[in-house]
């Protein structure tokens, strides 16, 4: 169990353990040496569950990415494909099998593990391609949640929002409900459930149904005590603004600029000194850095506003150098011994200090650029409700300068949300400019954004204006370095989603918030689940409110449709407040930022590229 997972009140390491056991059990079904062919979107997440060394102990000799054409030669008995149930992946699998069948050499056995569930369409597809019969085993690796950190889990379903809001496909919600059931089987039934939005309602309904079914099939008794007190289901459709806003926390900016996948980010290597650590892959063109709370310094600065990162780094640097200076003083043998004992830790801190100083420099180059600042300024104007109702000159400029389309769309979507819909004339102007500049095929993406509600026409009511006031969404107290409010994660703007969580854990809960909740889309859920006898919260003898004061409550916030690092930071900030009686654990369908969020909603683009997507 990885150490960075075990720190919290709820031991996320158990999730990892469960998934690992299942994977090893599946691997055990295939006798003899194995090669695994990974769907590339899974190799990373599964790496969080089982390291390569562990797989090697289980006779996995080779690992390949799933690509078209032939598999590289491997002298193994079993070839195991581990993939998401996607049709285009099935084509690749079929290609690979054709290739292997044609190749000479002794026969290999093929296996296919779907993550997390089999799919009828995929199996049909394989039958059509005539390879279905080649598989010895077709199994499910039911890993719904991948452990990212001690308070963070992700399902890594990147198109969940698109599937639900654009394609009307509720499958991802079914998976969410299953993931929650898994969590409940590990950490006990969650007594209270709140939620907002249509997806939240659907997940809750599914949970009830599954609970009923399990009750009838499973023998009671092995349900653990409740370790999670409250579940908050947040539909991304309730808060579309937050993912669009540029994140200004350290981790958020790393994600915006370099992209974080499965807790790993890649940086241009030339800026990192070679002595950083010996583990760098020499062949890699990019420098890979794993970012999780296992690294003390990173845990300290990840949630800070970027403006506070510089001072924090320099403080750390001073501390380290003073520690190193100590060795010059006169020492007894005892003291020297202590110093030497501390040395490895100090060296590690020094190395991570060097790494993060470099990353911070790289980020600063971007955040100091005019492009970044102008764009941020426009965003903040929108959030404050300034100039949202007319064609914005900065957006026009971006189009004229042929800035990346996604940047333009991100700003237009923001304007649409903050203006509670665009005027017809404004929208048509933007549309025409985009199509004329970037091409007619973008009609499709624009239509998608309209269908998903990210761009819409104004319809009388000004929800955003009301929300901004009542939920205090914009706070300009300039307290980025020593924050006093969650708004520090975007410097001005406090995420709606996190505000909802913040209100929920107050003594009054959402009771005073009915008007606001009415402005947000979809139903509100406030339910409770009955606990099996004797399985109540482990604290206090009677579950009265007052007896819980000494122990912080654990609230699981589940984002349906993705959440950003800034939101994670804001929730952590709330947990860390001195008077906080709450500890948040976060689960999401995927960690997103504005660019990745919109990217999945756009149709595959380029003037003459056929649609590769499903």
């Amino acid at each position: 169990m990885a150490s960075h997972l075990a720190g919290g009140k709820v031991n996320v390491g158990q999730v990892q353990e469960l998934a690992r056991k299942e994977l090893l059990q599946l691997l055990g079904k295939c006798d003899g040496s194995k090669a695994i062919v990974w769907d590339e979107s899974l190799a990373g997440p599964v790496g969080l569950v089982a390291k390569y060394s562990l797989l090697r102990e289980n006779e996995v000799l080779k690992m390949f990415p799933l690509r078209a054409g032939h598999l590289p030669a491997a002298n193994v008995r079993n070839i195991i494909f581990i993939t998401r149930p996607q049709l285009y992946l099935m084509d690749l699998v079929a290609d690979n099998i054709y290739g292997e069948e044609r190749a000479s050499g002794y026969r290999k056995e093929f296996h296919l593990f779907f993550v997390p569930r089999k799919s009828l369409l995929c199996e049909k597809w394989l039958k059509n391609r005539g390879v279905f019969g080649n598989f010895t085993l077709i199994e499910e690796f039911g890993c719904d949640l991948f452990p990212f950190d001690s308070d963070l889990m992700s399902m890594e379903l990147e198109s969940a929002f698109k599937e639900y809001y654009l394609e009307n496909d509720p499958t991802c919600l079914y998976q969410v409900a299953q993931a929650i059931m898994t969590l409940q089987s590990l950490f006990g039934v969650i007594p209270r459930v709140s939620g907002k939005g249509p997806a939240a309602k659907q997940v809750w309904d599914l949970m009830c149904r599954m609970a009923r079914e399990r009750q009838s099939t499973e023998a009671p008794g092995h349900i653990p005590q409740s370790q999670i007190d409250h579940l908050l289901l947040l539909d991304r459709g309730v808060d579309l603004l937050t993912p669009l806003a540029t994140q200004l926390t350290y981790e958020g900016l790393i994600d915006e600029i370099f992209g974080i996948n499965n807790t790993t980010a890649q940086f241009p290597p030339e800026r990192f000194t070679k002595s950083d650590d010996g583990a760098t892959d020499l062949s890699a063109e990019r420098k890979q850095i794993i970012l999780n709370s296992g690294e003390e310094l990173f845990a300290e600065i990840r949630d800070k506003n970027f403006n506070a990162v510089g001072p924090a780094l320099s403080r750390k640097a001073k501390l380290i150098s003073s520690q190193f200076e100590e060795r010059h003083g006169e020492k007894t043998v005892q003291e020297i011994k202590q110093f030497v004992a501390r040395l490895p830790h100090m060296m590690a801190t020094k190395a991570s200090l060097a790494t993060h100083t470099t990353i911070a420099e790289l980020i600063k180059e971007v955040t100091d650029s005019n492009k970044f600042l102008e764009s941020l300024q426009t965003e903040q104007e929108f959030m404050n409700g300034i100039d949202t109702d007319k064609v914005h000159p900065y957006i026009e400029d971006c189009i004229a300068q042929k800035e990346p389309l996604i940047k333009v769309l991100r700003l237009i979507c923001m304007q649409s949300v903050t203006n509670s819909g665009l005027k017809l004339k404004v929208l048509e102007h933007y549309k025409r400019e985009i199509i004329q500049t970037y091409g007619f095929q973008h009609i499709l993406s624009l239509t998608n954004l309209e269908n998903a509600g990210l761009i819409k026409l104004q319809q009388g009511s000004r929800q955003y204006t009301v929300l901004r006031k009542t939920l205090r969404l914009t706070v300009e107290d300039g307290s980025e370095i020593v924050p006093t409010d969650i708004s520090y994660v975007h410097s001005v703007y406090a995420p709606v989603s996190v505000r909802l969580a913040q209100y929920l854990v107050r003594p009054n809960g959402w009771r005073g918030l009915q008007d606001v909740l009415g402005l947000l889309p979809g139903p509100t859920i406030e339910e409770s689940q009955s606990l099996p006898v004797g399985r109540g919260p482990r604290r206090g003898s009677i579950g009265s409110q007052s007896s819980q004061n000494d122990m912080p409550r654990v609230v699981l916030v589940f984002f349906l449709g993705g959440c950003t690092f800034a939101e994670v930071s804001a929730l952590r900030f709330l947990s860390q407040q001195e008077d906080s009686l709450v500890e948040f654990v976060i689960a999401t369908t995927k960690l997103i930022n504005g660019n990745t969020f919109l990217k999945y909603l756009m149709e595959p683009l380029g003037p003459d590229i056929p649609p590769p997507r499903q």
Partner: protein, 456 residues
């Protein structure tokens, strides 16, 4: 498929008289036909039971068997066997042989035999509860949907799958419905169930079954989605520009021709653009090859580069294209500026922004801000006097000075000070200039001009 429902009704309706029907027609004939193992056994057993001929003839109907047994309860010969083996198991054994019967029975027409066999299956298996079947689909166990025969049971099955919320299960049921129900019934069911529609649409889209897809969407009243799907296929599915144009034209005719369609104009413009691009590709083949498929503004840039001097109204003239596509003044000027500046045709740019009225006066008609014009000109290496000309057109004097200083256009700065009659500022500015440079002399001359009435 169409006849199936009627069949069903027929069988429901005819259940009561089926008994006597078989009884009369071919009850006794069964005995004359050679039988395979179990069937023979069944016959012997029955004979042993001493049941009358009516009974033997109905060996295919469980319902009638039980009825017969009850009515014949006085016959003691049957008892011992029934105490040894349950009626149900017995029946299974007895029935098993009949399925292997390959020989067509004497006077039995194939249709009649099919009916009999179908009835056997029907009566023997009542469909399991829908939730059990859906659970089986979810868990990946083998399942069969064939037993759900009535419209009601099919509807229940579909609703159960939707309630579970798993796309996979929904699709499995929808495909079954499509296979076994009339089209209008399927549509009727789908109309109120968007989740099922979504799954089925995806399925059809993946298989490129376009007509069925658009039929479905239009049937459900989702015209926009239908037309967009068609558009997507026309654009993304067709590489060849001529083909794409044809498809777009057809798509436009079929789906976008209504005047209230809000995407109509866009599609119309796309068709016009493709036509225009193809005609250009015909005219100057080599350079225009890369043109096809480009956005409007790139095409406009192309005409600005290669057909700048074309007369007004000519098809390849920039203005023609711009008007056809409704390019905004701002975008038009910006594109022309960028292209002509890159070609260092500074005079063309003047014509773009400055019109001479027929009284000889000059008028500025710029939709782009002059600061941006100057920046863009500078980026393309425009000479200083060109820059100064446009700097003079920036109304905000402070901005003008700022930009001029940034771009090292000292003359423009000097001009501002002269206009402001600010001698002190000019003197101090001159001090920063390179002595003996052209700008230096220009500043010095400006100071010397006697007509200027300095304010300081």
């Amino acid at each position: 498929m169409a006849g199936r429902l009627e069949d069903e009704e027929y069988w429901h309706a005819s259940e009561a008289k089926a008994f006597s029907f078989e009884d009369d027609e071919f009850g006794s004939q069964l005995c004359g036909v050679s039988k395979s193992g179990t069937a023979r056994l069944s016959q012997r057993v029955r004979e042993g039971m001493g049941i009358d001929s009516t009974y033997v003839s109905t060996d295919s109907l469980s319902g009638s068997l039980s009825r017969a047994t009850i009515s014949d309860s006085s016959q003691t010969a049957a008892r011992p066997l029934q105490t040894l083996i349950s009626e149900k198991s017995l029946l299974c054994i007895l029935e098993a042989g009949n399925f292997h019967e390959k020989q067509p029975k004497g006077k039995l027409s194939p249709e009649e035999e099919v009916r009999i066999l179908r009835r056997q299956v029907e009566n023997r298996w009542v469909p399991p509860p829908v939730n059990d079947t859906v659970a089986k689909i979810l868990l990946g166990y083998p399942y069969s949907l064939e037993l759900y025969r009535s419209l009601k049971s099919k509807t229940e099955l579909l609703d159960a799958a939707i309630a579970v919320g798993d796309g996979n299960a929904i699709l499995a049921v929808v495909l079954f419905l499509v296979r076994t129900l009339k089209k209008n019934l399927v549509y009727q069911l789908l109309r109120t169930r968007p989740e099922a529609v979504a799954q089925y649409c995806q399925y059809l889209a993946i298989r490129l079954r376009v007509h069925e897809l658009t039929d479905l969407l239009e049937m459900l009243g989702d015209n926009r989605e239908a037309s967009m799907k068609q558009f997507q296929l026309a654009v993304c599915g067709t590489m060849n520009p001529q083909r794409r144009l044809q498809k777009l034209q057809a798509c436009f005719k079929n789906h976008f021709s209504l005047t209230d369609n809000k995407d109509r104009l866009l599609i119309e413009n796309y068709i016009k653009l493709l036509e225009w691009q193809l005609s250009m590709a015909g005219a100057d083949a080599e350079i225009a090859k890369a043109l096809v498929g480009q956005p409007v503004l790139s095409s406009l840039a192309y005409t600005c580069q290669h057909h700048w001097s074309e007369p007004k109204g000519s098809i390849s003239a920039p203005l023609t294209l711009s008007q056809q596509q409704g390019v905004s003044d701002r975008q038009f000027q910006w594109t022309v500026l960028t292209v002509r500046a890159s070609l260092h045709s500074w005079d063309d740019i003047e014509g773009l922004f400055i019109t001479k009225s027929w009284l000889g006066g000059k008028k500025l008609k710029a939709a782009v801000s002059m600061e941006q014009v100057v920046m863009q000109l500078h980026a393309h290496g425009a000479p200083v006097d060109v820059l100064v000309k446009y700097l003079e057109l920036i109304d905000n004097v402070d901005k003008r000075v700022g930009l001029a200083q940034k771009l090292q256009c000292h003359k423009a700065v000097v001009n501002v000070f002269v206009a402001k009659r600010d001698r002190q500022a000019l003197i101090s500015y001159k001090a920063n200039l390179h002595p003996q440079s052209e700008d230096y002399f220009y500043a010095e001359n400006s100071l010397r001009v006697s007509t200027t009435k300095w304010k300081n």
